[in-house]
């Protein structure tokens, strides 16, 4: 541009020289003729319509300079944004990976569906488990799919090797079509061929994950063809999945085995490929091109109705095909609901942050009233002025966004570690999607925050602002600021009430007696069936294991049992002599236990006794029942001494010798259940010892390795012994997660909101004190006491807070019902929680007003009046 004008000028000058002028003169005349280079350049720029860009650069420069001059303000604003945006970026990172993202490396995941059966009126995903016969029928008759696969409902512990080197990997049994359905490409080697999954017996081949390829084989390319020693069979490694693929669910899978090739690993009867009574696996399929999900659902429904046993359609249950990504979130149930709620909360925190910075900007704008009025008087357009203020908030928000990414990467790994230890994450805490989200959120935040100051600043009363000092004419804006403050206080109340409710739920939940101390008891077990041990050999091995564990130092007690709380359970009918029917309850369920079982778990014996060594095969048959059973069957009298019949045998009835408190069987929430314990030695239901339970004296987790070694070496050639705390069993962890998540994050967000509100209140009150210093001076001069002045200021802060608190309480009462299904033994209107929150806010209000109040009460009247 200016090159062109310079050229023109040069040509003009040369022409003048040719006409006989001196070079200097020629230049001067040319310049005069030109009429100012800048003006022309500017007009040309207007034509090109890029002036806004230049304005922006100019504004940015101006704003950056202004911010650099008040670093305190800039830092507060950026930090506030960083926390608000950081909270959102963190939540986005969690939610995105948990609920919205397809597993890595899967081709066109929107074409992949998961089958489930859903009853009418039910909104969830229904029952997602099927079996081999269903898979075979669908594979043979349904035309809507390109490929269809069956995959075990969850990975199983696959024992690798035996003895001291034994290991356990997480293995998923699948049909070879699994990889076709997902559209994966192997990182190395190949996936299973269809023939390797033939029934009745498939090939002994294994596909391993990239992670286990790295961990076990150091990424050696010659891993292909090597064998894994699983269940006394040699499985040949044929391929490696792409890096980052860990299965379709959230837990990590180390290896995939053909379902028919790993028969011996499954506790299923030999006729399992034709057995329709059990369901144990998910059905995935890839839709054929051009086939809609609706059409496929119709076809699957028709095929299943024709082929399935009638009871599958009881209550009008229908086939449902859910896209892969949605099926993941649907199965997260409670966690998904809580995360959604938390997302709403993090947006609230961001709103508070916006209100806070808007407040700071307003205060700044007030201080700059005169400057702004002068600018307006000098002819800057109001639009331009508003744009400048918006630029300021945008710049702050974007800087805050950058800091937010740091906050989020830190908070993200904290949350992952604390609350999602059992989940494998596909990417790091900061990825492209999260960055895009943060950038978008930052821009929106900048706009929202800048809007109020910009609107306010663009319509000031110019003359009065020019005439008046700083002191006058600020009432309207103080009103705006107070409104923002009320909003902040209200939102803080809502968040803190939420936090309180969830913390109390969590406390109630952890205080609930489960009938077992989950964090103090270890369970140990081995897949002996997989290595071909007979039941009698197994019994002997567990006897040995128990003896060795008991001999370890630091063990309070140990016992053997068929199953454990939160493990599998065994159900069978029973009869009570002299009764035709029993009161309605779940069960009865059975466990077969050794002496010391209840002491080891920490279960209280309410009446009678525990089993002893005197309860032997030949001695009278005895049982210990749970409290619910005693109460339901023999209300108002002692159950000890009564007896029940097992329907499965014709032996004399077994006598109740003890009553213990209820032990949770499966979950934290279950209805009344009949539970019967029988002595292992009496072998009533052929329930043999399959677990060793250990109660160490101190920290249970530190005894995991010693116990594992003791069990592992109980006999030569044993498969991997799995030892874990009951509290770490995934069924418990996943059930507690929603509450842990909600209590932790609501608490964090609530405190964040409170801190922001306190800063906001402090800002407004101290600004208003600064404005009222002359007034304070007059008051002092007229004899007001310091105490009186301080009270005046504090009252102002408390007044604003009161309105906010009142509003917040109302909102919390109204919105509380959304949280009700997520609470445990807690009313959403718990007066204790509301009381504590309200009190906290007032304490914070007084504290935030204290410094300005002190300043007000120490006003020097002479000094104050002189400034007039």
């Amino acid at each position: 541009m200016s090159d062109e004008l310079a050229f023109h000028l040069d040509m003009e000058t040369e022409k003048n020289i040719r006409n006989g002028m001196s070079p200097t003169e020629a230049r001067r005349v040319a310049l005069i003729a030109f009429g100012g280079m800048d003006r022309v350049a500017e007009e040309m720029r207007d034509v090109r319509n890029i002036s806004w860009l230049e304005d922006l650069v100019h504004d940015l420069r101006h704003v950056a300079r202004a911010l650099a001059r008040s670093p305190g303000f800039a830092l507060t604003a950026i930090l506030t944004f960083a926390l608000g945006l950081g909270a959102n970026a963190t939540m986005f990172g969690v939610i995105d990976q948990l609920l919205f993202r397809a597993p890595a490396h899967v081709t066109s995941p929107d074409r992949i569906v998961m089958l489930s059966m859903r009853g009418p009126g039910s909104t969830g995903i229904g029952q997602p488990t099927f079996n081999w016969p269903v898979y075979r029928v669908l594979r043979e008759r349904v035309r809507s799919f390109d490929a269809i696969a069956l995959a075990d409902y969850q990975p199983m512990d696959v024992p690798i090797g035996t003895g001291a080197d034994a290991q356990s990997l997480s293995g998923l049994l699948v049909t070879p079509s699994y990889f076709t359905v997902l559209g994966l490409r192997p990182a190395l080697g190949r996936f299973m061929a269809a023939s390797e999954g033939n029934e009745p017996v498939g090939a002994a081949v294994a596909v391993i994950s990239y992670g286990s390829w790295t961990r076990r084989f150091g990424n050696a390319r010659n891993v292909l063809g090597t064998t894994l020693d699983i269940a006394n069979q040699r499985f040949t490694i044929i391929g490696v999945t792409p890096r980052g693929f860990t299965g379709t669910e959230l837990g990590e899978v180390d290896l995939w085995l053909p379902m028919t090739g790993a028969l011996r690993l499954q506790p299923l009867p030999s006729n399992w490929t034709t057995m329709t009574s059990a369901t144990y696996a998910r059905v995935f399929a890839r839709l054929r091109a051009g086939v809609s999900r609706e059409r496929a659902t119709d076809e699957v429904g028709r095929v299943l109705t024709a082929a399935l046993p009638k009871e599958w359609y009881v209550n009008g249950r229908r086939a449902l095909l859910t896209p892969l990504v949605q099926s993941r979130s649907a199965q997260q149930g409670g966690t998904a609901r809580v995360t959604a709620l938390l997302a709403a909360m993090s947006v609230t925190v961001l709103l508070i942050a916006c209100a806070n910075v808007a407040n700071l900007l307003l205060a700044r704008a007030l201080r700059r009233r005169r400057e702004i009025a002068v600018r307006l008087a000098l002819g800057i357009s109001r639009g331009r002025l508003a744009r400048m203020l918006l630029t300021e908030s945008m710049l702050l928000a974007l800087l805050g966004g950058v800091a937010a990414v740091i906050v989020a990467s830190w908070a993200g790994s904290l949350i992952r570690g604390l609350l999602f230890g059992d989940i494998t994450w596909a990417t790091g805490t900061v990825d492209r999607r999260m960055l895009a989200f943060t950038a978008l959120a930052a821009i929106l935040t900048g706009l929202v925050t800048g809007l109020i100051p910009a609107l306010q600043a663009s319509r000031p009363d110019m003359t009065s602002a020019l005439k008046a000092g700083v002191r006058e004419g600020g009432e309207q804006r103080t009103a705006t600021r107070s409104t923002l403050l009320v909003l902040q206080a209200a939102l803080s109340v809502v968040l803190l009430v939420g936090a309180g409710l969830f913390v109390r739920s969590l406390i109630a939940l952890t205080a609930t007696r489960l009938g077992v101390d989950p964090d103090r008891v270890l369970t140990a077990s081995m897949n002996l069936r997989a290595v071909g041990r007979t039941p009698d050999e197994s019994d002997e091995i567990y006897r040995q294991a128990l003896a060795r564990v008991r001999a370890l130092p630091g063990i309070a007690s140990a016992a053997a049992a068929y199953t454990t709380p939160f493990g599998a359970s065994w159900g069978a009918d029973m009869r009570v002599p002299g009764r035709d029917s029993l009161p309605e309850a779940q069960g009865p369920f059975y466990n077969s236990v050794s002496p010391g079982y209840f002491a080891t778990l920490g279960t209280r014996i309410l009446d009678g006794r525990e089993f002893t060594d005197a309860d032997r095969p030949g001695s009278p048959r005895v049982i210990v029942i749970n409290a619910t059973m005693a109460r339901l069957l023999w209300p108002g009298r002692r159950a000890v001494g009564e007896c029940i019949d097992f329907v499965t045998d014709s032996l004399p009835c077994a006598t109740v010798v003890g009553v213990v408190e209820d032990i949770r069987r499966q979950g934290l929430f279950e209805g009344p259940t009949y539970f019967v314990h029988v002595p292992l030695t009496q072998d009533v239901l052929a329930l043999r010892a399959r677990h060793v339970l250990v109660r160490p004296r101190g920290d249970a987790s530190r005894m995991i390795e010693p116990v594992r070694r003791a069990v592992q070496t109980a006999a030569p050639g044993l498969p991997y012994a799995k030892v874990q705390r009951i509290g770490d069993m995934s069924i418990l962890v996943s059930q507690l997660r929603p509450w842990r998540l909600a209590a932790a994050l609501f608490g964090a967000f609530g405190l964040l909101a409170l801190a922001l509100a306190a800063v906001g209140l402090y800002g407004v009150v101290s600004y208003s004190v600064a404005q009222r210093i002359p007034e304070m001076g007059v008051r002092v001069a007229l004899g007001a006491s310091r105490r009186h002045l301080a009270e005046l200021v504090v009252r102002q802060g408390v007044a604003v807070t009161s309105i906010g608190v009142a509003l917040g309480v109302i909102v919390a009462l109204i919105t509380g019902r959304f949280a009700t299904p997520l609470l445990y033994q807690e009313s959403p209107r718990d007066p204790i929680v509301f009381g504590i929150v309200v009190a906290t806010l007032f304490v914070v209000a007084v504290a935030a007003s204290a410094v300005p109040a002190w300043r007000a009460s120490h006003v020097d009247p002479i000094e104050a009046l002189r400034t007039e």
Partner: protein, 110 residues
Amino acid sequence: MGRQEPDLLRGTLDLLILRTLAGAPMHGWALSQSIQQQSENLLRVGQGSLYPALQRLEQQGWIESEWRPTEQNRPARYYTLTASGRRALVAETKSWRQYVRAVDLILEGA
């Protein structure tokens, strides 16, 4: 401002530029000189209107520009008439003739 320039009617400058460029591509200064000479020094095009006008015409797609060395081997921005510029020139010339005729008619009739 010492010198009075005949005020070019709005739109006239565009027409003159298009007409001048129809002969040959040239740079801004040459363009202004050419208009001045052709009008026997009656019309002087100020840079302040010339360059914004060139900018406007280029945005309309009637002319194109590129940097080329001059005969003295100095880089200059040369403007060329485009096909649509040529069509515009025809249309503008026609409407200008009509306009002049109309004004003439009124002036002679008065």
